[in-house]
Protein backbone atom coordinates (compact mmCIF):
# COMPACT_ATOMS: atom_id res chain seq x y z
CA UNK A 1 0.00 0.00 0.00
CA UNK A 2 1.22 3.50 -0.65
CA UNK A 3 2.57 5.58 2.26
CA UNK A 4 -0.59 7.60 2.85
CA UNK A 5 -2.69 4.44 3.15
CA UNK A 6 -0.16 2.89 5.48
CA UNK A 7 -0.47 5.96 7.68
CA UNK A 8 -4.25 5.44 7.86
CA UNK A 9 -3.73 1.79 8.78
CA UNK A 10 -1.18 2.65 11.48
CA UNK A 11 -3.40 5.35 12.98
CA UNK A 12 -6.31 2.94 12.95
CA UNK A 13 -4.32 0.34 14.85
CA UNK A 14 -3.19 3.06 17.27
CA UNK A 15 -6.80 4.04 17.96
CA UNK A 16 -7.77 0.40 18.44
CA UNK A 17 -4.77 -0.11 20.76
CA UNK A 18 -3.47 -2.85 18.48
CA UNK A 19 0.10 -1.56 18.12
CA UNK A 20 2.88 -3.27 20.04
CA UNK A 21 4.22 -1.19 23.00
CA UNK A 22 7.29 0.13 21.10
CA UNK A 23 5.26 1.25 18.08
CA UNK A 24 2.66 2.75 20.41
CA UNK A 25 5.33 4.82 22.21
CA UNK A 26 6.91 5.88 18.92
CA UNK A 27 3.58 7.06 17.57
CA UNK A 28 2.80 8.88 20.85
CA UNK A 29 6.05 10.80 20.34
CA UNK A 30 5.39 11.46 16.64
CA UNK A 31 1.94 12.81 17.47
CA UNK A 32 3.48 15.28 19.89
CA UNK A 33 5.96 16.55 17.31
CA UNK A 34 4.05 16.36 14.01
CA UNK A 35 1.00 18.62 13.93
CA UNK A 36 -0.14 17.30 10.53
CA UNK A 37 -0.10 13.74 11.85
CA UNK A 38 -2.07 14.78 14.92
CA UNK A 39 -4.59 16.60 12.72
CA UNK A 40 -4.92 13.50 10.55
CA UNK A 41 -5.57 11.40 13.65
CA UNK A 42 -8.38 13.76 14.72
CA UNK A 43 -9.83 13.74 11.21
CA UNK A 44 -9.71 9.96 11.11
CA UNK A 45 -11.55 9.75 14.44
CA UNK A 46 -14.19 12.08 12.98
CA UNK A 47 -14.50 9.74 10.00
CA UNK A 48 -15.22 6.75 12.25
CA UNK A 49 -17.86 8.72 14.17
CA UNK A 50 -19.53 9.82 10.95
CA UNK A 51 -19.45 6.31 9.47
CA UNK A 52 -21.07 5.04 12.66
CA UNK A 53 -23.76 7.71 12.47
CA UNK A 54 -24.34 6.95 8.79
CA UNK A 55 -24.65 3.24 9.54
CA UNK A 56 -27.13 3.97 12.31
CA UNK A 57 -29.17 6.27 10.00
CA UNK A 58 -29.33 3.51 7.39
CA UNK A 59 -30.38 0.97 9.99
CA UNK A 60 -33.10 3.32 11.22
CA UNK A 61 -34.37 3.68 7.62
CA UNK A 62 -34.46 -0.09 7.31
CA UNK A 63 -36.38 -0.46 10.58
CA UNK A 64 -38.84 2.25 9.49
CA UNK A 65 -39.46 0.27 6.31
CA UNK A 66 -40.02 -2.98 8.22
CA UNK A 67 -42.32 -1.22 10.68
CA UNK A 68 -44.28 0.39 7.85
CA UNK A 69 -44.78 -3.01 6.24
CA UNK A 70 -45.88 -4.67 9.50
CA UNK A 71 -48.42 -1.95 10.27
CA UNK A 72 -49.92 -1.59 6.80
CA UNK A 73 -49.82 -4.89 4.91
CA UNK A 74 -52.94 -7.12 5.21
CA UNK A 75 -50.75 -10.21 5.62
CA UNK A 76 -49.74 -8.84 9.06
CA UNK A 77 -53.31 -7.97 10.14
CA UNK A 78 -53.30 -10.31 13.15
CA UNK A 79 -50.11 -8.71 14.48
CA UNK A 80 -51.53 -5.18 13.97
CA UNK A 81 -54.75 -6.07 15.76
CA UNK A 82 -52.95 -7.70 18.69
CA UNK A 83 -50.73 -4.68 19.23
CA UNK A 84 -53.40 -2.02 18.67
CA UNK A 85 -55.70 -3.71 21.22
CA UNK A 86 -53.33 -2.83 24.06
CA UNK A 87 -53.81 0.90 23.42
CA UNK A 88 -57.61 0.99 23.39
Amino acid sequence: MRTSLNELRKLEKYLQKQLNPQDQLLLDAQLLLDKDLKDNLCLQQKCYRLINAYGRAQLRSQLNRVEEELFSQPVHKKFMQQVSAYFK
Binding site: L5, Q44, A53, L63, E67, Y86, F87
Partner: protein, 181 residues
Protein backbone atom coordinates in the same frame (compact mmCIF):
# COMPACT_ATOMS: atom_id res chain seq x y z
CA UNK B 1 -29.04 -16.65 16.67
CA UNK B 2 -29.05 -15.63 13.03
CA UNK B 3 -26.34 -13.19 12.03
CA UNK B 4 -27.40 -10.47 9.71
CA UNK B 5 -24.33 -9.78 7.72
CA UNK B 6 -22.54 -13.04 7.23
CA UNK B 7 -23.85 -13.69 3.76
CA UNK B 8 -23.63 -12.00 0.38
CA UNK B 9 -27.29 -11.02 -0.10
CA UNK B 10 -28.12 -9.86 3.36
CA UNK B 11 -30.73 -7.13 2.86
CA UNK B 12 -33.76 -9.41 2.55
CA UNK B 13 -32.41 -11.70 5.27
CA UNK B 14 -31.85 -8.69 7.52
CA UNK B 15 -35.44 -7.56 6.92
CA UNK B 16 -36.66 -11.07 7.77
CA UNK B 17 -34.73 -11.05 11.07
CA UNK B 18 -36.23 -7.71 12.05
CA UNK B 19 -39.75 -8.82 11.05
CA UNK B 20 -39.29 -11.84 13.31
CA UNK B 21 -38.07 -9.71 16.21
CA UNK B 22 -41.02 -7.32 15.81
CA UNK B 23 -43.50 -10.20 15.75
CA UNK B 24 -41.96 -12.07 18.68
CA UNK B 25 -41.05 -9.20 20.98
CA UNK B 26 -43.03 -6.08 20.10
CA UNK B 27 -46.41 -7.31 21.43
CA UNK B 28 -44.84 -7.73 24.89
CA UNK B 29 -43.24 -4.28 24.59
CA UNK B 30 -46.54 -2.73 23.47
CA UNK B 31 -48.39 -4.23 26.43
CA UNK B 32 -45.68 -3.02 28.86
CA UNK B 33 -45.73 0.54 27.54
CA UNK B 34 -49.54 0.70 27.19
CA UNK B 35 -49.86 -0.32 30.87
CA UNK B 36 -47.58 2.57 31.77
CA UNK B 37 -49.60 5.18 29.88
CA UNK B 38 -47.50 5.27 26.71
CA UNK B 39 -48.84 5.49 23.18
CA UNK B 40 -48.36 3.08 20.29
CA UNK B 41 -46.07 5.59 18.58
CA UNK B 42 -43.94 5.85 21.70
CA UNK B 43 -43.78 2.05 21.92
CA UNK B 44 -42.60 1.92 18.30
CA UNK B 45 -39.92 4.57 18.98
CA UNK B 46 -38.59 2.83 22.07
CA UNK B 47 -38.55 -0.57 20.36
CA UNK B 48 -36.71 0.83 17.36
CA UNK B 49 -34.09 2.38 19.65
CA UNK B 50 -33.74 -0.95 21.46
CA UNK B 51 -33.25 -2.79 18.17
CA UNK B 52 -30.52 -0.35 17.16
CA UNK B 53 -28.71 -0.84 20.48
CA UNK B 54 -29.12 -4.61 20.18
CA UNK B 55 -27.81 -4.60 16.60
CA UNK B 56 -24.78 -2.47 17.44
CA UNK B 57 -23.88 -4.46 20.51
CA UNK B 58 -24.51 -7.99 19.34
CA UNK B 59 -26.11 -8.80 16.02
CA UNK B 60 -23.47 -7.17 13.83
CA UNK B 61 -20.59 -8.89 15.58
CA UNK B 62 -22.38 -12.17 16.10
CA UNK B 63 -21.81 -12.30 19.85
CA UNK B 64 -24.12 -14.40 21.97
CA UNK B 65 -26.30 -12.99 24.74
CA UNK B 66 -26.63 -14.98 27.94
CA UNK B 67 -30.37 -14.59 28.24
CA UNK B 68 -32.94 -15.31 25.56
CA UNK B 69 -33.18 -12.78 22.82
CA UNK B 70 -36.65 -11.66 23.90
CA UNK B 71 -35.65 -11.14 27.52
CA UNK B 72 -32.53 -9.23 26.46
CA UNK B 73 -34.35 -6.94 24.04
CA UNK B 74 -37.16 -6.38 26.52
CA UNK B 75 -34.58 -5.48 29.13
CA UNK B 76 -33.17 -2.78 26.88
CA UNK B 77 -36.71 -1.48 26.24
CA UNK B 78 -37.42 -1.27 29.97
CA UNK B 79 -34.20 0.62 30.57
CA UNK B 80 -34.97 3.08 27.77
CA UNK B 81 -38.54 3.55 29.01
CA UNK B 82 -37.39 4.21 32.55
CA UNK B 83 -34.81 6.74 31.31
CA UNK B 84 -37.55 8.37 29.29
CA UNK B 85 -39.81 8.75 32.31
CA UNK B 86 -36.98 9.51 34.77
CA UNK B 87 -38.87 7.69 37.46
CA UNK B 88 -37.69 5.04 39.91
CA UNK B 89 -41.15 3.61 40.60
CA UNK B 90 -41.39 -0.08 39.68
CA UNK B 91 -37.74 -0.09 38.63
CA UNK B 92 -36.58 -3.58 37.76
CA UNK B 93 -32.83 -4.15 37.71
CA UNK B 94 -31.38 -5.30 34.41
CA UNK B 95 -28.29 -7.44 33.96
CA UNK B 96 -24.76 -6.13 33.41
CA UNK B 97 -24.88 -7.14 29.74
CA UNK B 98 -27.99 -5.05 29.22
CA UNK B 99 -26.63 -2.11 31.22
CA UNK B 100 -23.38 -2.07 29.28
CA UNK B 101 -25.39 -2.05 26.08
CA UNK B 102 -27.29 1.11 26.98
CA UNK B 103 -24.53 3.05 28.73
CA UNK B 104 -22.47 3.49 25.56
CA UNK B 105 -22.93 7.07 24.33
CA UNK B 106 -25.84 7.18 21.95
CA UNK B 107 -25.30 10.10 19.60
CA UNK B 108 -27.63 11.19 16.88
CA UNK B 109 -26.48 13.47 14.14
CA UNK B 110 -28.87 15.44 11.94
CA UNK B 111 -29.61 12.96 9.20
CA UNK B 112 -30.08 15.29 6.27
CA UNK B 113 -26.84 17.16 6.86
CA UNK B 114 -24.93 13.97 7.52
CA UNK B 115 -26.13 12.23 4.40
CA UNK B 116 -25.33 15.15 2.11
CA UNK B 117 -21.87 15.47 3.67
CA UNK B 118 -21.05 11.80 3.43
CA UNK B 119 -22.44 11.15 -0.04
CA UNK B 120 -19.74 13.45 -1.39
CA UNK B 121 -17.33 10.62 -0.62
CA UNK B 122 -19.29 8.48 -3.06
CA UNK B 123 -22.08 5.97 -2.46
CA UNK B 124 -19.89 2.90 -3.04
CA UNK B 125 -17.25 4.21 -0.64
CA UNK B 126 -19.83 4.90 2.04
CA UNK B 127 -21.41 1.47 1.65
CA UNK B 128 -17.97 -0.13 1.86
CA UNK B 129 -16.97 1.84 4.95
CA UNK B 130 -20.34 1.22 6.60
CA UNK B 131 -20.16 -2.51 5.87
CA UNK B 132 -16.76 -2.80 7.47
CA UNK B 133 -16.91 -0.38 10.40
CA UNK B 134 -20.62 -0.42 11.33
CA UNK B 135 -21.88 -3.83 10.18
CA UNK B 136 -18.49 -5.36 11.06
CA UNK B 137 -18.35 -7.55 7.96
CA UNK B 138 -15.21 -9.66 7.65
CA UNK B 139 -12.75 -8.79 4.91
CA UNK B 140 -13.62 -12.05 3.17
CA UNK B 141 -17.32 -11.11 2.99
CA UNK B 142 -16.42 -7.56 2.01
CA UNK B 143 -14.40 -8.93 -0.89
CA UNK B 144 -17.32 -11.16 -1.96
CA UNK B 145 -20.04 -8.53 -1.57
CA UNK B 146 -18.20 -5.74 -3.33
CA UNK B 147 -16.65 -7.91 -6.03
CA UNK B 148 -13.00 -7.64 -5.02
CA UNK B 149 -10.62 -10.34 -6.21
CA UNK B 150 -8.97 -10.70 -2.81
CA UNK B 151 -9.15 -9.63 0.81
CA UNK B 152 -6.07 -7.51 0.27
CA UNK B 153 -7.68 -5.50 -2.54
CA UNK B 154 -10.75 -5.00 -0.31
CA UNK B 155 -8.45 -3.69 2.44
CA UNK B 156 -6.66 -1.32 0.06
CA UNK B 157 -9.99 0.02 -1.24
CA UNK B 158 -11.28 0.44 2.32
CA UNK B 159 -8.31 2.65 3.20
CA UNK B 160 -8.60 4.56 -0.09
CA UNK B 161 -12.23 5.35 0.76
CA UNK B 162 -11.24 6.35 4.29
CA UNK B 163 -8.51 8.63 2.90
CA UNK B 164 -11.01 10.21 0.52
CA UNK B 165 -13.47 10.81 3.34
CA UNK B 166 -10.77 12.23 5.62
CA UNK B 167 -9.68 14.61 2.86
CA UNK B 168 -13.21 15.78 2.26
CA UNK B 169 -13.80 16.51 5.95
CA UNK B 170 -10.48 18.38 6.09
CA UNK B 171 -11.52 20.53 3.10
CA UNK B 172 -14.87 21.27 4.72
CA UNK B 173 -13.14 22.39 7.93
CA UNK B 174 -10.71 24.60 6.00
CA UNK B 175 -13.54 26.21 4.06
CA UNK B 176 -15.33 27.00 7.31
CA UNK B 177 -12.16 28.53 8.77
CA UNK B 178 -11.71 30.74 5.67
CA UNK B 179 -15.26 31.93 6.07
CA UNK B 180 -14.95 32.93 9.70
CA UNK B 181 -11.61 34.76 9.40
Amino acid sequence: METLNHSKDSLKEADAVFVRLYKEVFPTVARYIAKRGGTLDKAKDVFQDALIIYYEQHICNGSVVKQTEMAYLFGIVKHLWINHLKLDVNYEPISNDQMAAVEKPYEEIAEVRLTSLLMKAGDRCMQLLKSFYYDKLSMRLMAERFGFTSERSATVQKFKCLEKMRGYIKDKILQYEDFIK
